[in-house]
Symmetry: C2
Subunit: 202 residues, 2 copies
């Protein structure tokens, strides 16, 4: 949808490994993840995983791509032709106003993985692609809104980067502090920004 | 200024250790920091450091507090009675539009330290305080602007959390991706938000 790159095709075996990785990450966190623990979730041997991925880092980089593929597929299904509602929906998916336990753990896992990108080039390239794809998803909704006159003639790239930075920063704060209401406050202000800065009054 | 907590007083010896920690962090990064390397920068023995701080984590938590103390002192000196310019100044300090090498390295160090807060309670408490203090600094400028009628009657807490999340998220993206212009685009959009959403037109 938002990306020009060809859609990654995941084999059934790879998808099963990715699902097992997701469960293992939620259960053990990023720091305590091992191929053994993923194999336990998969109910197969470690060799079955190493047949597809040479190292744990290879597997985790693939997992991040899998997660973004899934995210884009969901967004494609769940958004339609109402740019303001579609934008709100993407923001809620990225930064739930009231995250449940699974969403909280996933966010902690993502912050752990992203911290590797400070020093690890392969993780850095993957997070570069992730942010590119997420920004493109937001941008395409803003462009759609400008085309159908629900949004003003703003700069879609800048607005997309602003929204992505706010969402990433609020999520980052939620995972690394005990400030319970800060992320929700940022989201409410972001929604009011979208309402006042983007929406046309007809 | 922005915080109600009593100002931390740093002895000369502590300040020297903090300055040495800063230099060692810029030189070696967070991952390769050791008490030995800080002692080298200090030109004293490791014992001189352990006399003040029991562990490396104790020292790093103190360093974070020292950095925020310094930041607040600078802001107090460099801001005045022009809320829009003061706000722009704080944002530029937190997220330089064109960071130099030292600022880039410092941001990488801060992301490395913050990632510890996902699992380490002491770091988590410290980053909770840091974000509280930064949000309070932004909030007090917004409140000042509302009081002197340069800003509209917005919710200062929500706006402060929005600005802090955008700044943190853009900085986080800058350090963990190769997306060169994303942070600047977010900042330009944030400035336009402040201009259109906050400023009164008289």
């Amino acid at each position: 949808m938002a990306s020009d790159s060809p859609k990654q095709h995941w084999s059934t075996a790879e998808e099963e490994i990715m699902e097992a990785t997701y469960r293992a990450l939620l259960k053990h966190g990023y720091a305590d993840l091992s191929i053994s623990r993923i194999a336990d979730e998969l109910d197969k041997s470690k060799a079955a995983i190493y047949y597809h991925y040479d190292t744990k880092d290879d597997l985790l980089v693939a997992f991040l791509e899998f997660a973004v593929d899934r995210f884009e597929e969901t967004i494609e299904t769940e958004t339609g032709d109402e740019p303001p509602e579609d934008l709100e929906h993407v923001i809620e998916k990225l930064l739930p106003l009231q995250p449940d336990e699974e969403q909280r753990q996933l966010q902690a896992v993502l912050v752990g993985l992203r911290s590797q990108a400070v020093t690890n080039e392969v993780f850095r390239e993957q997070f570069t692609q992730i942010d590119e794809r997420l920004a493109a998803t937001v941008r395409s909704i803003v462009e759609r809104g400008i085309d159908d006159d629900t949004f003003r003639d703003v700069d879609p790239s800048r607005v997309a980067e602003h929204i992505l930075a706010t969402v990433n920063g609020a999520m980052y704060g939620r995972v690394t502090t005990d400030r319970k209401s800060a992320a929700a406050a940022a989201r409410v202000s972001l929604a009011s920004y979208i309402d006042s800065e983007l929406r046309c009054r007809s």
